[in-house]
Amino acid sequence: MFEKALAGGRRYWLWVGFLLAVSFLGLFDWVREQQIGLGVTALTRDVPWGLYIGQFVFFVGLGASALVVVLPYYLHNWKAFAKITLLGEILGMVSVFMAMLFIFVSMGRPMRLINVLWYPHPNSLIFWDINVLSGYVLLNAIVTTTILWSERQGIAPPRWTRFLVMLSLPWAVSIHTVTAFILCGLVARPYWLTPLMAPRFLASAFTSGAALLALLALLMRRLGVFDVGEEAIQKLRTIATYCLLTHVFFDLNEIFTVFYSRIPEHVAHIDYLFAGLDGNDLYAPWMQLSALFALAALAIFLIPALRNRSSLLPWACAFAFFSMLIEKGLGLMVGGFVPTAFGVTAAYAPNLSEWTVVAGIWAFGALLITVLYKIALAVRAEAES
C-alpha cells in the first residue's frame, strides 16, 4: 500500500519536500535545545510549561475530534460521512501522535521517558495520559490500515474492526478528559481549578476538529484531489456550529462564576489574559482576537444571509479553528501561571526557538496527513474503478 505515497506529480513532491525541510529544521532546533538546555526557550521558573504543552493540549483535542465523523457514521449510519470518516480517523491519529511529540520536546530528560512505565505511578495523570494516548494512536492505526487493506482486497472489513471503532469512541472522550484532569486537579492553579475543564475541552476540540475537516475537504475539492460531497461538508458545518455554541456557553459560565464571586485569585488570571495586569498586556490582543474570531464564526454559521453564502464557509471554519488554537494552544498555559503563586505578573512569550520546534512538529504532522491521505485516496480510487 505504501508505494502509493511515491506516485505523485511535481506539485506533490514540492509540498512534501517543503514539509520535510521544515520538519528537519524543527528537529535540529530541538537537538540544540537539548544540548544547551531548555534555557534557550523562553520558559522560566515561574512559567515552566508554555507553548509546547499548550500545543499538546490542543492536538489531543484535535485527535479526540475524530469522534465527530466516526460516531455519526458508525452509530447512526450517516451515509453522507462514508467518504470522510476514514480521513477523520487519520487526522485524529496523526494529531495525537503530534501531541505526544509536544510532550516529548518539553521534557528536560526525554531519554528517561521510559521511567514513567518502568516505575508506574497511577496517582499521576501523566501516567494515564501516556497510556491512553498511545492506545488511541494504536487503535486508530489498526482500524485505518485494516479498512484500507480490506477495501483493496475488495472485501468487507473484518467484524472486529467495528468493535475497535466502537471502542475508539469512549477512548476519544477519555484522552481529552485525562488531559483536562492533568490541569484541573491542581490546588496551585486557580485558573484551571474548574470541573468545567474537561467538558470545555471537548466542546472546543469538536469545534476545531469539525472546522479543520471541513477546511481540508474544501481544500481537496479546490485542488481537484478528492470530493467528499457537499452534504458531508454541510453536516460538518452543523456540528461545528453546535459545538462552538456549547463552547461559548461554557466559557460564559466560567466568566460569570469568576466575576460574580470576584475571588481575587480567580479574577486575576482572566484579567491578565484579556486586559493585562500590572502593565503587562502581552496576551490581551490575542485573547480578544480569539473571542472575536469565535463570534465572527458564529455569526457566519447562524445568520441566514451569511449562512447561505458558500464563499464565507471557509472563513467561518478558519475563524473557529484559530479561535480555539489561540485560546487553548497558548492562552490556557500562560493564564494558568500568571500571576504566579507569589502574585507576580511573570512575563513569558514563546521565542524563536520554541516556534521553530513547533513549526517542525506541525510540518511533520502535515507530512503524515499528506502521505496517509494520498495512500487512502489512491487505494479507494483503485478499488472503485
Binding site: R45, M107, H121, S124, I126, I130, L186, G336, A341, F342
Partner: protein, 260 residues
C-alpha cells in the same frame, strides 16, 4: 491474621481508587482534630514529621542577612544564576506581601516591607508535587516526612513545579555546574534538565547534624525538629508565639512556620 476493612479494600482489585478514597476520608477526618499539624494515618500514634519554625522577629534584627541561604548553597551545590528566569532556589528571601498575600494589610505593609522572610519547601503533609510525579522521582519519606528527590529518575516533565502551590521547586534550565561557587564533593551536583528543591538536609540529619541553615543562623532564628514530639525545639517555639503557614487553606499541610 485479621483483615480489616481497609486492608481488604487495599487488596481488592480497585485498590488504587479505594486507597485514594480512604486516604482522602482520613485526611478530612484528621484535619478536624486540633494539633500542630493534621495527623495522618488512622488515628494511632502520630507519625514523625520534621518541621521548621522561623522566627522572623530575630531575622528582622539583622537586615540584609542571608547566612542561612549561603550555608544551604554551600552544603548542596546550589548554583548562583543571575538570570531570574533560570534561578535555582532552595531557601530564599521573598517579600511578606507575596508570601502571605491574604495577610497583607496597611499594618503589615508598614512594618514588614523590606524585611527578610526566608521561604523554602514546606515538606507538606499532603504534598501536591508527590501526587503528580509520574515516576516517583519525588516522594514523601515515611520515617520523618521529608519530601525527597531522586535526580537520576526525574524526567524533567516539570509537573511537580506546576503542582506545588509554593513555587518551591526549580528546574535546571542550564548546566548548573559552572555556576556553583564552592563545590562540596560530599554532595551530588545536578545535571541539566532535572528539578530540585530543599531536602531538609537529609544527608546532614543522617550524620547526626542539624540542617545547614539552622546551624548557620547566628540569631538562632530557626527551630527544627519533630512536630509530633511536644518537647522538640520546633514545638516549643511554636507554642510560645503566634505563627503563620503559607496557604494552609489548600490542605497541603505545610510544615514550615513563620513566627511573625
Amino acid at each position: 491474621m485479621k483483615i480489616t476493612r481497609k486492608d481488604f479494600l487495599r487488596l481488592s482489585g480497585l485498590s488504587v481508587l479505594a486507597a485514594g478514597a480512604v486516604r482522602t476520608f482520613e485526611a478530612a477526618k484528621a484535619a478536624g482534630q486540633s494539633a500542630i499539624r493534621p495527623l495522618r494515618g488512622s488515628g494511632g500514634a502520630p507519625r514523625k514529621q520534621l518541621a521548621m519554625a522561623i522566627d522572623l522577629r530575630k531575622c528582622r534584627q539583622r537586615p540584609g542577612c542571608d547566612l542561612c541561604m549561603k550555608a544551604c548553597r554551600d552544603a548542596h551545590n546550589v548554583p548562583v544564576i543571575a538570570d531570574p528566569r533560570h534561578e535555582v532556589k532552595w531557601i530564599w528571601n521573598a517579600p511578606f506581601a507575596e508570601v502571605f498575600p491574604l495577610e497583607q494589610s496597611a499594618y503589615t505593609e508598614r512594618n514588614y516591607t523590606g524585611s527578610p522572610l526566608p521561604v523554602l519547601c514546606n515538606h507538606c503533609d499532603e504534598p501536591a508535587c508527590v501526587r503528580v510525579c509520574p515516576t516517583g522521582a519525588t516522594w514523601k519519606r515515611s520515617e520523618d516526612g521529608i519530601v525527597m528527590m531522586d535526580w537520576h529518575r526525574c524526567i524533567g516533565c516539570k509537573y511537580c513545579m506546576v503542582a506545588c502551590p509554593y513555587e518551591a521547586r526549580s528546574f535546571n534550565f542550564v548546566d548548573p555546574r559552572p555556576y556553583i561557587e564552592h563545590i562540596n564533593s560530599d554532595f551530588p551536583t545536578r545535571s541539566m534538565g532535572v528539578v530540585e528543591k530543599c531536602n531538609f538536609c537529609a544527608e546532614r540529619l543522617a550524620a547526626g547534624k542539624q540542617p545547614a541553615c539552622v546551624e548557620a543562623c547566628p540569631a538562632n532564628a530557626i527551630a527544627f525538629g519533630d512536630s509530633s514530639d511536644p518537647n522538640s525545639p520546633v514545638c516549643l517555639a511554636l507554642s510560645a508565639s503566634f505563627s503563620l503557614r503559607r496557604k494552609p487553606e489548600l490542605g497541603t499541610g505545610p510544615n514550615v512556620h513563620s513566627i511573625v
